[in-house]
């Protein structure tokens, strides 16, 4: 039960973050877009500040709760490299990831984002299913 409540409250904070960025700066809180523009040297100050905040967030969680959030990253290194390349390449090609299309796009009822979210959910579920067959 607790897992559902923390998930929901964590989600509220993520939504609040997206609302703040749009209402104050007029920008989509899409992490792949922000990281991609940072790599191109566009909007570097706000982009670097957002990503610095993203890294400070879990530190604040540690200060408030007394424990680091759980991170179990068991994938072997070839999978980490391949997965990273796919996530980076695909999020740029598809113009967004879980945050931009998921949190902001769905909230704006963007048809492109609905199509993107449906596509990456199906692809991710299929990938986990196939990997389970071989493990």
């Amino acid at each position: 039960m607790t897992a559902y409540i923390t998930a929901l409250c964590g989600g509220f904070l993520i939504g609040l973050s997206a609302a703040i960025l749009m209402m104050v700066n007029g920008r989509v809180a899409g992490v792949s877009g922000i990281a991609g523009r940072l790599l191109q040297g566009v909007q570097t100050a706000t982009g670097a500040a957002f990503i610095a905040g993203l890294i400070v967030g879990p530190v604040l969680f540690r200060l408030l709760s007394g424990a680091w959030p759980a991170v179990e990253l068991a994938a072997p290194w070839p999978l980490l490299v391949a997965g990273g390349l796919f996530v980076g390449y695909g999020s740029r090609m598809g113009s967004g990831c879980t945050s931009g299309h998921g949190v902001v796009g769905l909230a704006r009822l963007s048809h492109r984002s609905m199509a993107a979210v449906a596509t990456f959910m199906v692809a991710a579920v299929a990938t986990v299913y196939l990997m389970g067959l071989f493990s």
Binding site: A3, Y4, A7, L8, C9, G10, G11, L13, I14, G15, L16, A18, A19, M23, V24, G26, R27, V28, S32, A35, G36, A49, I51, G53, L54, I55, V56, P58, W68, P69, A70, V71, A74, A75, W77, L79, V81, G83, G84, L85, F86, V87, G88, Y89, G90, R92, M93, G94, S95, T98, S99, L106, A107, H111, R112, A116, T119, T127, Y129, G132
Partner: protein, 149 residues
């Protein structure tokens, strides 16, 4: 950098902190749980569905307020994607992204936020992710709205 630009940097930092705190609280930083959420045919852990539900509902409230605002507090206009077409690049790119997300259980937000824990595996994933982004933009160029001012 003028005063408005400095305030925008502060707003981006605050927004990032709230995002990272939300990710830490929600359980999204844990790739094993993300994969458990995606594993719908075996031992499905539906809890992370509540992250997206919670995030989209608060975000939707924000976007409803945005529709009543003429401009954001610190800029002269809202910077929104202008394209409406569901094209092949959107679908193929999203499918590639989904495969990578399923393989490791990390997407860009949680990957960057979990840098705070300093795990070497996270660093390797992020280096590969940034290489993938750079490779795409080098080969095809960013689309106009991805570059936008």
């Amino acid at each position: 950098m003028n005063r408005i630009e400095r305030l925008r940097v502060v707003a981006a930092f605050v927004s990032g902190i709230v995002f990272g705190l939300g990710l830490a609280l929600s359980g999204m930083l844990n790739p094993v749980r993300v994969q458990g959420f995606l594993d719908i045919t075996r031992d499905w852990d539906p809890s992370l569905g509540f992250v997206l539900a919670g995030a989209v509902s608060v975000s939707a409230l924000g976007m409803a307020l945005v529709r009543r605002m003429r401009e954001p507090l610190l800029d002269s206009r809202f910077h929104l994607p202008e394209t409406r077409v569901i094209d092949r690049r959107l679908l193929v790119g999203s499918a590639i992204f989904g495969v990578g997300w399923g393989m490791v259980g990390l997407c860009p937000g949680p990957a960057l936020a979990s840098l705070s824990l300093g795990l070497p595996a996270t660093v390797l994933f992020i280096a590969s992710m940034l290489a993938g982004m750079a490779a795409h933009d080098r080969l095809f160029g960013a689309r106009p709205w991805q570059r936008a001012s």
